[in-house]
Amino acid sequence: MASSPQKLKSYSKEDRIRSLLGQYGIGLVLVIMMIVIAIMEPRFLTLGNIINVATQISINGLLCYGLCLCITTGGIDLTVGAQLALTSCIIGQTMTNMGWPAFMAILAGVGVATLFGFIDGVLIAKFNMFPFVVTLSMQLVIRGLSQVITGGRAVMLTNAWFTGIYSNKLFGIPMPIIIFIVVTIIMYLMLHWTKFGRYIFAVGGNVNAAIASGVSRFWVIVGVYTISGVLAGLASMIYTSKTGSAQSNIGVGYETDAIAAAVLGGTSFAGGIATIPGCVLGIFIIGLIYNGMNMIGVSSYYQSIVKGLIIIGAVMLDMVMNRNKH
């Protein structure tokens, strides 16, 4: 009899550890990565480089949150790369060639991205079309539109206020980091603390049960794709400010890194499972892969292989640590 409580106590401890690993396992992967890179390149852990990484991840970070919401409802948004290009072209065209004030140009660019997100959502929710097909087709429309707007030419952006969005600092913190933090807080509160967030999980987890419970599938789906459009527009604003150039060929393949970050962060393609803190960790892992390889000096011919293997390894490690959960 005496052994039972001890055994129970032992199980409880193991469960607690497993629970901790389940919640923060991918964080452990991040820490391991940081240690390995820091050993290979001590300059990696300087404050300047950490700020550098945090600034760089802002673009992929915003795209990732949009993808996270769409994947959580059981969908996908493949338009985000093309949305980067379209918003960039609208900002460049309106600001440089039409003389609009920067704020109005940003509003126009992000507004159009939002509109396309809304259209994606309506097509998916109203007509029950597959998200993969809708967004795959829509990205062609969006990319084509950006080519029409600029005629394929690059447009330079010289407005100091606009180009300062990437390079300026507030209280010593680069603006892209501040934008990223603000969006992260909003996304966290929305997904984990609001009714709309619970509806997103409900639609992704069991859509029939959600509908039976009175959840409007239509508005949830339309809502997440619209938010994805807004975030892609904001990401494009940062991108365009960073390069000082608006052009229609940017953002090709950017959805890949955004999806990778979401999945690394525990977002399930089965729907209904996601956390914003997990996405933050995934976003940092993807950012560290790029920065780490650059810092260590991995040959460009091997960077793609290393990146793919690290993502597979990280997901596998996470699954091993969370085998009960999965």
């Binding site: 480089n49 080519q147 010289t158 460009s300």
Partner: protein, 327 residues
């Protein structure tokens, strides 16, 4: 002895005559433009892509000219701009479309040296007169009737020479690649190494897979500044979309001293050179290249001889001459 001297002089003169004759033959060629004898001249145009700012003015010039050429009756039809989507597979499909449309002449801008080559081969085998522009595919010298372009190795030399000339004390530099395996990336990199490797005072500390992408080049610049600080003196890029983004990143971080340079001479880098935020760029005269191809089409239609390999030189653009190329 005297006889052998006379014989060798005669031999040299004959060899030189043959060489000159050979050169003359290589420089001037003629073809019958209506290759399928249907009484119509149909011209095809397979672009590299519609999205790259370097290719936009090339495509625009071709569209403007051939629309007018049809209106003026110089040619009977043209295919319009066919989008190669920077994809060899798509270019091969477009080549098949040109064959189906019974084109007599096709202007072709290959996306890849090896992978796009079947497009050239199938068109040439169908009897079409193919003019390659901007870059060569593998069997260009055997199958195309002309090549109008620039020497990307020379562009690589010029990139490196600018860095050598403007960083007399040497130092650390990084290289931002185009899409790995692309012929321009390979040849510009080769040209860059040919010069930089002769200068031991320079050390290449990063060779980044930046995929022609300004965002990735800017990240490579900030990573390298973070790692090497003042030791970093230059960033050599395979195109100037990347060099302008890298230079902006350097300038934003108070490192205007870092020399960034790339190839193409598209709008944004030229404007940066004009306003002084970028010191130089290497201009590839894309419109000059397509004008060269148009000139060959005109010669073909008129039955005149033409130079099958005109070289359009790269130009170093600095504050001194940017006004000649901007706008």
């Amino acid at each position: 002895m005297k006889k052998s001297v006379i014989m060798s002089v005669l031999g040299t003169v004959m060899a030189m005559s043959l060489a000159f004759a050979g050169t003359a033959l290589a420089e001037e060629v003629t073809y019958e433009a209506d290759v399928n004898g249907d009484g119509k001249i149909v011209v095809g145009y397979i672009s590299k892509n519609f999205t790259d700012p370097f290719h936009a003015p090339i495509n625009a010039r071709a569209e403007e000219y051939f629309d007018q050429a049809v209106a003026d009756g110089i040619i009977d039809e043209w295919t319009g701009l066919l989008d190669g989507e920077t994809d060899a597979n798509k270019q091969i499909d477009r080549a098949a479309d040109c064959i189906s449309k019974q084109c007599d002449i096709v202007i072709f801008l290959p996306a890849e040296a090896e992978a796009s080559d079947p497009a050239l081969v199938q068109m040439a085998d169908a009897g079409i007169l193919v003019i390659e522009v901007n870059s060569k595919s593998a069997s260009c010298d055997e199958k195309a009737i002309a090549y109008v372009g620039s020497d990307d190795v020379e562009a690589g030399n010029m990139l490196a020479q600018w860095v050598v000339d403007n960083c007399p004390d040497g130092g650390k530099y990084i290289h931002c690649n185009g899409i790995l395996g692309n012929s321009a990336q390979i040849q510009r990199t080769e040209g860059m190494h040919a010069v930089m490797d002769e200068h031991p005072e320079f050390e290449m500390v990063g060779d980044f897979d930046t995929k022609w992408d300004g965002n990735l080049a800017a990240d490579a610049a900030s990573d390298s500044m973070s790692k090497y600080g003042d030791e970093l003196v230059a960033i050599i890029c395979d195109n100037d979309g990347m060099s302008s983004a890298a230079q902006k990143m350097c300038n934003d971080n108070g490192r205007e001293d870092i020399i960034c340079i790339g190839v193409d001479g598209v709008e944004v880098p030229l404007q940066m050179v004009q306003d002084g935020s970028l010191k130089a760029t290497i201009l590839q005269d894309g419109v000059g290249q397509i004008n060269g191809a148009i000139s060959i089409v005109e010669s073909l239609v008129k039955g005149e001889a033409f130079d099958p390999a005109p070289v359009i030189p790269f130009v170093l653009v600095t504050a001194d001459n940017v006004a000649d190329y901007i706008g």
